[in-house]
Symmetry: C2
Subunit: 293 residues, 2 copies
């Protein structure tokens, strides 16, 4: 095995890879297509390997080097049945380990320290590391979970707009804006909602936060409910002397003012998920070399 | 035009018809396949006409009589764009009027009186008649509405079971039962939820009410939230001296104990929706005959 470690962040829109020496110094980066292992395993495997080869090329190394490196791949679904193991077997690395996207995000954010990570984008999910042991909750999707996700914020906005239209709850500038967008026809909202994917609902999340910041009563209600849900999940994970809570994802910054109760614990993430994957790959490399020494 | 009136309740599982004389005395009944006009207009038209012919046969009348009767058809979607008019043109009656399922249900429940009707089955919807004028709210489907529907009760149960599994909210006998049903694997609940139709979620509604009656904290929470939503919708419709509120649908009886605040106004429906359609058809018949006299 060469003294090279590759970390890969296998995401739903692209795979990003970075190659480092045994001290963790990054010497090359690569990017390829998406990894959606549960829906398209074959192309995910191709893209994961391709991003690694791009990183080798970027570092001025031969593509064949791929078979002598240690690699850690973080990808959503790695913990579903035997997907992780199937990918480990199929990848071209000397030593490859497949872990969840949550683990590389946590490693990137906290390094080797204990703490809690909450990720808020289209979905919402929480992971804690306490005494080195991992515990994850949430992330079940917006239909019956992900209470603080962008998708739920958008779905709630549609629901409250219809309630305002019916005169059941008060209207506000944000519900007026939604009704106007849909031609003041509730049927159009229903049509949208019944075919909307999580990302379709989630595109309303920034609008909800904007109006909430201006004091719009409906938007404040939606964000307050979501922040309450975040608090409940954090309380389920928190322990005395928990050193820090990191908020990640596209909505992290927007939620911060609504989580003032946790302000003393809130910390900026140290690094991103790709860096977390590299850190884990360097650990793997050093373990293997100690093992073979 | 003969002195015959046919009322038809065009439902998603079957069309039911009843034929009456000009005094409203029912002399025959018929039944045929479903009417889902928005998804299958052609077969809906066939089934509507077939149920009417069955009723004529049941009354000992020739099938050709169909072209000389007055008929009122109540069917979901009649108010969507021009569907109602398209059906009116296509039906074989001397005079046919197509109205919403909500209107025949209201007519059946209240007769010609003012009042409010709330219908609680797989969906939930409210209709009021005040000074003879109709006003309907709700019924937007469980994704972004129908807060007191069976579908929402079931979806809420799945969501709260996952929260209990994650330790975010307390577990209870009902969440334990759900988790056991799904092999204590949250992924199985997520899989169910992401493909579940409203009726799939709604099959849990009776279970929620059963546990709520026994004091299960989670079930009580779910039903209380739904009853609060019913209250909000009723308040949006209620007026001083509103004579009565009728609860209709498969969950009407189950909700009654949770709506004690409205007990003085709650009244049993006078008749069912099919009877409401017959009443409206008799009115139509008498109007036409007065018009042509």
């Amino acid at each position: 095995m060469t003294e090279l470690a590759i970390g890969i962040d296998g995401g739903g829109t692209s795979c990003r890879a970075a190659i480092a020496d045994r001290n963790g110094t990054i010497i090359g980066r690569g990017k390829s297509g998406p990894a959606n292992i549960l829906s398209d395993l074959d192309n995910s495997l191709l893209n994961i390997a391709d991003s690694a080869r791009q990183a080798l090329r970027d570092a001025g190394l031969a593509a064949e080097t791929i078979s002598s490196v240690a690699a850690v791949v973080g990808v959503a679904g790695a913990n579903v049945t035997d997907y992780g193991q199937r990918i480990e077997k199929a990848l071209p690395f000397a030593e490859g380990r497949v872990v969840t996207d949550a683990l590389i995000a946590l490693q990137g954010a906290l390094g080797d320290a204990d703490g809690i990570v909450g990720a808020f984008g289209t979905g919402s999910v929480y992971n804690a590391r306490k005494d080195g042991r991992l515990n994850g909750i949430g992330g079940w999707g917006f239909v019956v979970g992900d209470q603080a996700s962008g998708a739920r914020l958008g779905r709630d906005l549609m629901e409250r707009s219809l309630l305002a239209h019916d005169g059941v709850r008060p209207a506000s500038p944000i519900t007026d804006a939604v009704m106007a967008e849909y031609g003041n026809d509730p049927e159009h909202i229903v049509e949208f909602a019944h075919s909307a994917r999580p990302t379709d609902f989630a595109r309303y999340a920034p609008v909800v936060f904007e109006h909430a910041a201006k004091g719009d009563a409906v938007a404040v209600g939606i964000v307050t409910d979501a922040a309450t849900a975040i608090g409940e999940s954090l309380e389920a994970l928190l322990w005395p002397n928990c050193p820090s809570i990191c908020l990640l994802g596209g909505l992290a910054e927007a939620y911060e003012p609504w989580l003032s109760r946790y302000r003393p614990l809130l910390a900026k993430p140290k690094n991103d998920a790709l860096h977390g994957a590299v850190e884990l790959a360097v650990k793997l490399l050093n373990e293997r070399q100690r093992g073979s020494a």
